[in-house]
Subunit: 460 residues, 2 copies
């Protein structure tokens, strides 16, 4: 069903104004990682709160130990209406290196339909299009078909350190039936996308201790176990020749994705050679029996992130190192948990560790994988809203990385999370010349305006 005429007319009439307001937002250098920008970051929080009030929401700025969290509320929907929480962030990545920007990072500039600015797509543009979608309802009709909470944080680019505690402490304030987040990208231009899965992570450090100090490799070499060689042997036991992980119990909790999901992934427009070229690898690799997108989205991994032992400078030094270290992380898929993977990793390393060295495994951090339940009314509504705005059925995509906040919302608020993003591949989210498609900005606004009508219709 197309977007309601009243909303569509309102948005069409206000496109230029919407863009100008976004530009004002983008001009604030709210770099959360830099304390010299603390005043700017605070100003961005104020700007969001003011915007929410101007369109008719109540807004509160909640201080945290770091940057504040802005919460906007509109709770005047008819009895029985759903309550939705829209999450976004008003902070941005640092802009350096500045000399690689073709136009200044905090002076938004349009070239070839792209809005170039730090934060354009990550995440100010995607947060603000939600505000404009809400405004369309309130301006055209004086009301929304759902109750709305907007939560905008200022620490997403520095690890969202205060968010989980805030959600936990404000469960009643934030109670909702659905969470909507726009902080991701569409799979390809023109192809609206719903992100249906995230991988989790279990990150370890493996330390191998041999002799108590570095030894001369001539005087001692051959008579004691070399810790770096021991580490290499441990790591080499973690995969077989087909790329399967050989840690006993590792796959026990991996849920079968089913033919439908695999078929969805196979239907996406994707070329291995393009992906390979993007990485610069001589050749793609990975687990036998799976496509590249399945390997990255649906399958768990076991990767070395770092190695250190002995002498690593120029030339030759004949040291028999006292110790060797590896950072090893596993990307997890439902229903693996970091704790269970820690247990099988520890047991495996203990079993394969050569004699003559002491091996310790530390679990540095973990995060659970996430997979959306695509069957509910929220996703049906999102499919219809995206199809209306983009004239094309949305695709279901996955993501190999982790967005811990998604799991936090789902776990604490017990509400389904919809990840619907309007970025595009190559958008330079954390790099110079970040951009957002202007067309996606406006279509995204329309889609999100349509979403609330569709959701009200689904659930009524």
């Amino acid at each position: 069903m197309p977007l309601a005429k009243d909303l569509d007319s309102y948005l069409a009439a206000n496109r230029a104004g919407s863009r100008e307001e976004l530009f004002d937002f983008l001009r604030i250098p709210s770099v959360s990682a830099r304390s010299e920008h603390n005043a700017d970051t605070a100003r961005a929080a104020d700007w969001v709160a003011t915007s929410l009030r101007m369109i008719g929401l109540e807004a509160t700025i909640h201080p945290t130990k770091g940057h504040p969290i802005v919460v906007g509320e509109w709770r005047k929907a008819p009895p029985g209406a759903q309550t939705v929480l829209i999450y976004g962030h008003y902070d941005v990545q640092p802009a350096e290196p500045l000399d690689l920007w073709e136009s200044p990072p905090f002076e938004p500039t349009i070239r070839e339909g792209k809005i170039f600015a730090r934060g354009s797509v990550d995440d100010k543009g995607q947060l603000y299009l939600h505000i404009k979608a809400l405004q369309a309802h309130l301006a055209a009709r004086g009301k929304l078909p759902v109750n709305v909470i907007v939560l905008a944080e200022g620490e997403e680019e520095v690890g969202s350190e205060n968010l989980e505690a805030f959600i936990e402490a404000n469960k009643t304030l934030l109670k909702c039936d659905a969470v909507v987040i726009s902080d991701s990208a569409m799979f390809a231009p023109g192809l609206p996308s719903i992100l249906s899965s995230l991988r989790g992570i279990a990150y370890f450090q493996i330390d191998v201790q041999g002799p108590s100090g570095d030894l001369h490799s001539g005087m001692y070499g051959g008579a004691i176990m070399n810790p770096a060689m021991a580490l290499a042997r441990i790591l080499a036991t973690m995969h077989d020749a087909d790329g399967h992980i050989t840690i006993p119990g590792f796959y026990d909790k991996v849920r079968d994705w089913g033919d439908v999901a695999r078929q969805q992934v196979k239907s996406l427009p994707f070329k291995d050679e393009t992906f390979r070229h993007e990485t610069g690898s001589p050749e793609l690799g990975g687990e036998k029996g799976y496509t590249t997108l399945e390997r990255v989205w649906m399958r768990p991994t076991c990767e070395v992130n770092g190695l250190l032992s002995g002498y690593t400078g120029e030339g030759a030094k004949t040291v028999l190192p006292a110790k060797a270290m590896a950072k090893v992380s596993c990307r997890l898929v439902p229903d693996q948990t970091p704790d269970e993977i820690e247990a099988v990793m520890r047991a495996h390393v203990e079993r394969v560790a050569p004699k003559g060295v002491t091996v310790t495994v530390r679990h540095l951090h973990g995060g659970r994988p996430w997979r959306a339940d695509l069957g509910g009314p929220l996703f049906d509504a999102a499919r219809r809203a995206l199809a209306a705005a983009f004239d094309r059925e949305p695709v279901i995509t996955g993501e190999g990385g982790s967005i811990p906040v998604v799991g936090d919302f789902q776990r604490i608020l017990k509400a389904p999370v919809l990840l619907v993003g309007f970025g595009l591949p190559g958008e330079n989210a954390h790099a110079p010349n970040e951009w957002m498609s202007e067309d996606n900005y406006h279509r995204g606004t329309s889609a999100m305006a349509a979403l609330w009508d569709e959701l009200a219709r689904s659930s009524s």
Copy 2:
């Protein structure tokens, strides 16, 4: 046969003087690695030349691109007498860290029969005892039973960079029937030792390149070969579970040492537990079927000296590294050569390298192994001379490290090399509180004085 009475009387009467002269030598801070000590190092060369002249040799100071080489000569032995070349070095290691010395490094001090000073055992004491042994002959008899060349260099502690070229360019000047070097240690106190073997080395750097830059392990992990994991797998193919090296062709040139040599090693007073305690390793390891000393002296190795890849700092970083590096060195035994080991290493790494990465092997440096032929008159003479001075038959020992100059002398001058040292375990050769046993200094002088009589007797 005991040391001749005339020599013994002379040495007994001059012990205090000999020690005082050595102390003068030790007071010169001839640290070859430090340019601020260049004048001191030159002064040490002068001091050696003057000492040689005072006992009756002709001496020349040969400039090099670095520190000078001092050559002393006495060529008045009867026709048909052998010519021997005595090698030593007058430079010393830096003394730092100074605060760990119990007495100043360049102010020789005797405590509990030990001469404490930088260079006491490495190698000024062992060079000067040769000069005093020559003096005993020349002072007591006015002659030596052999022609003598003394070659003292000033760059041993910085890699002897100009020595090989000097020997090559002065083959006629240095032509001799035997080379004697005292720059090593006895196996145990009271146990005179002849060092009969040195291991060689082939030192490699293995570089594994995957993607062109570091990637996000979430977005790409699972779909490309991880270079650090690839490196671990390559390294893990180099040994079997029994510690044998599994690089095809690696053992092809390894000469059998024979039961006699193995029995000699087995007869030495050696305790695995003492050695293990010295290393601080939880447990000894190495190749099955060999004892610890055999593993260190008679068997080749393949060791990791360094590893580097990706993120090695505190905590977790989810990087899929672009590259990984290992320093890998093999200690070699006769008749392995660095070039042949390079060839089998390259072929092996190429064969086992996983797909999806580019692997390169660089040979950073090499040195041949060395083994003495213990059958000739030089070694018979040395055995008798050592037995006379120490009241005990000498033992034959090996050394797991390399002393490249030994091979250079043997190869260029085509003369056998006798390695007979008077240091002791725990002498702190390159550490604070370096010491030489005063008793060994005097017994070493007697042994070397006896050596020339014994050698003249053997070869006449």
